[in-house]
């Protein structure tokens, strides 16, 4: 981690060479690309400043001149800042680092070593697209998400930057943590480029994604927001009137018809949810393609705002195929990947499918794509092992304890009716059986895989070389039954947890995984 210091500024062409070996280790700084923001950015900033100040400006014209003055001052300051930033910002890509300089009064220089760049993404909103611009986002492993943002370059400049950067990477992006002995990029023969169009999403798949989205929570929030709005506008009394009228009308209906009307309403609500979710998904993921170029995964998608995301597959820590029960029934899955430094909680577009590799595809197709993200998995043979059957007993006991607590809590209020809490016990057993039937794990030569779920099903695969630490955990009930949870930590995303292994299995697996992590190269992640 000590090799991030600045490179020697200039390397004399004819440095005295004593023997060839050290000469190969010397780095030459070659400038590969250099540039400024696109001038049209000024137009963007002007529009942005206008939008921000629109309300004060209107207020100033209509109500009070004081607002007008303040808004104008703010407007001028914002524009001046934009102009200064545009004039001073300069990026330089060398074979070692990306350097971004900016600032007039407060000068800032940001240097990002190439082998630290995790992910390079482009994003164009509708307006930027019309102007032929793209925002370039540079992500590193710091866990902060986007480390640097160039808003915006011309599309050509952005494409050029990416190509040059990816071409410069292979030599410097090998695991070189703390290792200065890297051959210069130019000297290393590039491996033949693999070009694999891994997946192109069809509209049908995106429709399936929208229609099988079971998160109706978002939908409830929308309903609540609509109610709030109605309340703000003073419609609630009218609404209440309508509601009570409606209720009376419902009560006057015969029961069969009443049921029909309610079912119809429910259907309408569901249909509305499905339609909005489907539209949202199509707008977001329209024309999704996943392509493997050399060792780099590239995603392009979007209808209005287009995005291009680049992910070197060496950074992939875990690949997950996720199926909720409906998707499982239909045989579809979402493919997700965790990468080093990425985190599920932050990042500006977690809802935008930050770690989505393929938004929706057939489960069997998804399995054939795995080698694109996890090279070598095609040679792996997994022998699946089930979880321990004691898991069902464990779940039942937990249900019984819960039933006791719930029953006791309601006893003084409900009396003997509190015995209904006993229903929790069989329910928990059934959940236990379902969990047990879905649970399975497999340890291959260089990968480790897990399947779990209750009614849905998830498949997760972790390269053993990426393992950072392994933890087994036993709860009190687990201690009684000799069961343990195993948690595998990798360098990004969330840890992978296998529940309810027998203690022996858990310990053996822990020993195995930790041992492999200890012997694989230090900076393999």
């Amino acid at each position: 981690m000590t090799d991030d210091s600045d490179p020697p500024p200039e390397m004399p062409e004819t440095a005295p060479v004593l023997d060839p070996a050290p000469a190969a280790t010397q780095r030459e700084t070659i400038v590969l690309a250099k540039g400024h923001l696109h001038p049209a950015v000024l137009l963007l900033r002007l529009l942005g400043a206008l939008r921000q100040n629109a309300v004060p400006l209107l207020l100033g014209i209509a109500v009070e001149t004081w607002f007008l003055v303040a808004a104008l001052v703010l407007f001028v300051v914002q524009l001046g800042y934009a102009v200064a930033r545009y004039l001073t910002l300069e990026y330089t890509l060398t074979n070692e680092e990306l350097c971004i300089r900016e600032g007039l009064l407060h000068r800032q220089e940001r240097r990002i070593p190439l082998d630290r760049i995790q992910d390079l993404g482009f994003e164009s909103t509708l307006l930027r697209r019309a102007l032929g611009l793209a925002v370039v986002m540079v992500e590193t492993a710091s866990g902060r998400g986007v480390e640097a943002r160039l808003d915006a370059l011309s599309r050509n400049d952005a494409e050029h930057l990416r190509e040059v950067l990816l071409a410069a990477r292979p030599a410097s992006a090998k695991p070189t943590q703390g290792d200065v002995m890297t051959a210069p990029a130019a000297a290393a023969p590039r491996p033949p480029e693999v070009e694999w169009m891994v997946h192109r999403s069809s509209t049908m798949e995106l429709l399936v994604r929208g229609a099988t989205d079971l998160r109706l929570g978002a939908f409830a929030v929308t309903g609540y927001a609509a109610f709030e709005l109605a309340d703000q506008l003073g419609f609630v009394t009218q609404l209440a009137g309508i509601a009570s009228g409606f209720r009376e009308w419902l009560q006057s209906l015969p029961p069969a018809l009443l049921f029909g009307v309610l079912a119809g309403l429910l259907f309408l609500v569901m249909a509305f949810g499905v339609v909005t979710s489907t539209l949202g998904n199509i707008v977001q993921f329209h024309g999704f393609t996943l392509r493997l170029q050399g060792d780099v995964l590239q995603r392009r998608y979007g209808l209005l705002t287009t995005r291009q995301k680049t992910l070197p597959r060496a950074r992939v820590q875990r690949v997950t195929l996720e199926q909720n029960w409906l998707r499982r029934l239909l045989g579809f899955a979402v493919v997700k990947a965790d990468s080093a430094g990425g985190s599920r909680s932050d990042g500006q577009d977690t809802t935008g499918g930050w770690d989505v590799i393929v938004p929706m595809t057939r489960y069997t197709t998804a399995q054939t794509m795995l080698p694109a993200m996890l090279p070598g998995i095609e040679h792996e043979t997994f022998t699946w092992r089930p979880g321990s059957r004691k898991l069902i007993a464990r779940a039942t006991i937990q249900g019984a304890l819960l039933a006791l607590v719930v029953g006791a809590a309601f006893w003084w209020r409900l009396g003997p009716n509190a015995f209904w809490a006993a229903l929790i016990v069989p329910l928990w057993s059934i959940l236990g059986v379902l969990t047990w039937r879905n649970l399975g794990w497999a340890r291959g030569e260089s990968f480790f895989a897990l399947q779990h779920g209750v009614i849905g099903k998830n498949f997760a695969c972790v390269p053993t070389a990426k393992v950072q630490a392994v933890v087994t955990r036993q709860s009190i009930i687990g201690q009684l039954f000799g069961l343990a949870d195993l948690t595998v930590y990798v360098a990004g995303g969330s840890p992978t947890r296998i529940p309810d292994l027998t203690l022996g299995d858990a310990r053996a697996l822990q020993r195995e995984l930790a041992g492999r992590a200890a012997t694989s190269a230090a900076a393999d992640w």
Binding site: M1, A141, G143, G178, D179, A340, S343, V467, Q468, A469, V470, V471, T472, R473, Q474, S475, I476, Q479, T487, Y489, V490, A491, G492, S494, P495, R507, Q510, R511, A514, G515, A517, A518, S520, A522, W525
Partner: protein, 166 residues
């Protein structure tokens, strides 16, 4: 070292971690029970209609349990704690209700910290904190080490990392 005993961490913490933990736990327990007894009890008696001596006894026994726990849990915790290096794995095992066994390969460690709080310093103790890459659960702590031993361990980790790097 054979394959079967690999994951048994060999070492115990320094015994004087017990009084240190007791003091540390007691501070919060004493403050909490004192607040409950001297402020909470009179307030409840004034404002709650069904306050009765039975409730007062219940509160008293709760306070006693909390105070007793501060004194009784540290020795058990100490008895259960094991840590140590086996090969190039740092192992830890601890916990009473929830037992955890952790294995961290030295090669995966990003950096190592020693932390010493004021009471810890009185007892000449230090906590070794080891960080791996990643966000969640990337810090691993071994408390209750004699300062010189903690420093030795830290140096050893740094040295092992240095060797592993070529």
């Amino acid at each position: 070292m054979t394959e079967t005993d690999r994951l048994h961490p060999p070492d115990r913490l320094a015994a004087r971690v017990v009084p240190y933990w007791i003091i540390g736990d007691s501070i919060s327990s004493v403050v909490m029970t004192a607040l409950a007894w001297f402020l909470g009890r009179p307030w409840l008696a004034d404002h709650w209609d069904s306050w009765s001596p039975a409730w007062e006894n219940a509160l008293l026994s709760l306070c006693v349990i909390v105070l007793a726990a501060a004194a009784l849990i540290p020795p058990i915790n100490y008895a259960r704690w094991r840590y140590g290096f086996v090969g190039d794995l740092l192992l830890m095992r601890y916990g009473i209700l929830f037992v955890e066994e952790r294995a961290v390969p030295v090669r995966r460690m990003q950096h190592v910290d020693l932390s010493r709080g004021p009471i810890e310093r009185l007892f000449g103790l230090a906590t070794l904190v080891v960080f791996t890459a990643g966000n969640e659960g990337s810090a691993f702590r071994v408390p209750g080490l004699p300062t010189h031993l903690a420093q030795e361990l830290r140096d050893r980790i740094v040295q092992m990392r240095g060797d592993g790097r070529l």
